[in-house]
Symmetry: D2
């Protein structure tokens, strides 16, 4: 048990190639593409880790998790063809909000770290909605605490 | 009058910079970005030339113009910071379809040519709809014939 | 043997999800993203099928395969979360040029077809170079003829 | 004079449309596209405000300003066709680093705020280089202090 009384889980891990489309004229990832990749990882995590694919959430249930806040550090540049490993973990789950952390490494070398805050939203009313208990339970398995 | 009895108009012209985000590790436009740029030009044309902005068409009227066919030639590479001039013209207007031609030049040097075929669509029913007469009339002003 | 005396091979096949980043406000793939996906498939093919990863070709050998011509048909719309199967095949190999065909299906439903013509290029001199014999031999294994 | 003894300047302001390519299936800007737009604004600022276009910096002088850190708040969603106004200002200039702030509004409504830290880099050696005095002087005109 952590100090906060929440059992720890472990992050979802997925690997991605640095693609031609990600790279800029300097031959390295154009930084907004890190966020495109991080979103892909979140989709993979919801599909394979959480069992709630985005198409069910967005298209069928009309729910979304828009981002309201993020901070990121770009530790070292990533280059065409490198295989990056992304770890996605849950920092905390509020009534309607979800705090995530991402870490991106290439081998043992850290490349990028990100914290983000998302809010579960009714896409039709464009208003926050409570995170349902069944989703809260599944998210708990990926709880990594404040990182 | 052209052979087909349609008076000729002239293409809509707009300039775009080659942005950092468009360029690949070889320092030239990554070719899918030509299509992103061509779509931007089409949005500018609908807003400024046709007087029917995409947000009114897509968001309010739930109409779209998905592409069903295109061919393109990439004549010469375009580089970071160059100012490209795009010409968008109408080749013909059918009951539900619209044939366009694009030409992209940098100064006097041709860079890209594209032909595309679009179909006006009801986005909610995902079905073709007739192009309304008022739109047909506005499109006629940009008629350039088969190019 | 085909009429042209070239033994037939078979296409490289790879699957891709329709990602959130690919979709437009109409909820379907924004068409330039098909070309981004097709490029990803070409990278996968060069890495896994041909054994000549893009980072070796572009970064180490300073060779590229810019596209000079393409035509594409968008048969049906693809939606968020769908799993698309791309087939990449070789139509023919010239002295410096390579003709490819792509076919994208979802289950048994065809979504997109594309033909492209590429030219092998010295990226530093920006000039065509002959396709080396060892690469020509590897490409032959994916020969599908004119499609 | 500010407390730090630096005269205040004013931010560079530029407007951008929310394009079809920026929007997601929920009909709002896909958040990584805010960073693509912010980079466009930085390019416009360097070209029109600073007088040092990116193509001269990157292509000719082989200098870049990779981002090492950022934080951002997404205050309200932005929708297709809206005209966004971006303000780019300098928070401070160090030996090799540059701290910027971005603010994006639509009319009087705030949409996004970002702070970023960049480091001037020799792209060939991939190492930090001092910001030259002439550039430092030009940057001073856009000094907005800590925001």
């Amino acid at each position: 048990m952590s100090a906060a009384g929440t059992a720890m889980g472990k992050p979802f891990v997925v690997t991605k190639y640095v693609r031609f489309a990600h790279c800029d004229p300097a031959g390295i990832i154009f930084y907004p593409q890190y966020f495109v990749l991080a979103h892909e990882c979140k989709e993979d995590w919801f599909r394979e880790g959480i069992g709630y694919p985005f198409e069910r959430m967005v298209t069928a249930d009309r729910r979304g998790f828009p981002i309201v806040k993020l901070d990121a550090e770009f530790v070292r540049a990533s280059r065409l063809g490198e295989q990056l490993s992304f770890e996605v973990g849950v920092r905390s789950v509020g009534a309607t909000s979800l705090k995530l952390s991402y870490r991106c490494v290439c081998g043992s070398e850290e490349r990028m770290r990100m914290h983000s805050v998302l809010v579960m939203t009714d896409l039709d009313r464009n208003a926050p909605v409570p995170i349902p208990d069944w989703l809260r339970e599944r998210l708990a398995g990926f709880h990594v605490g404040e990182t």
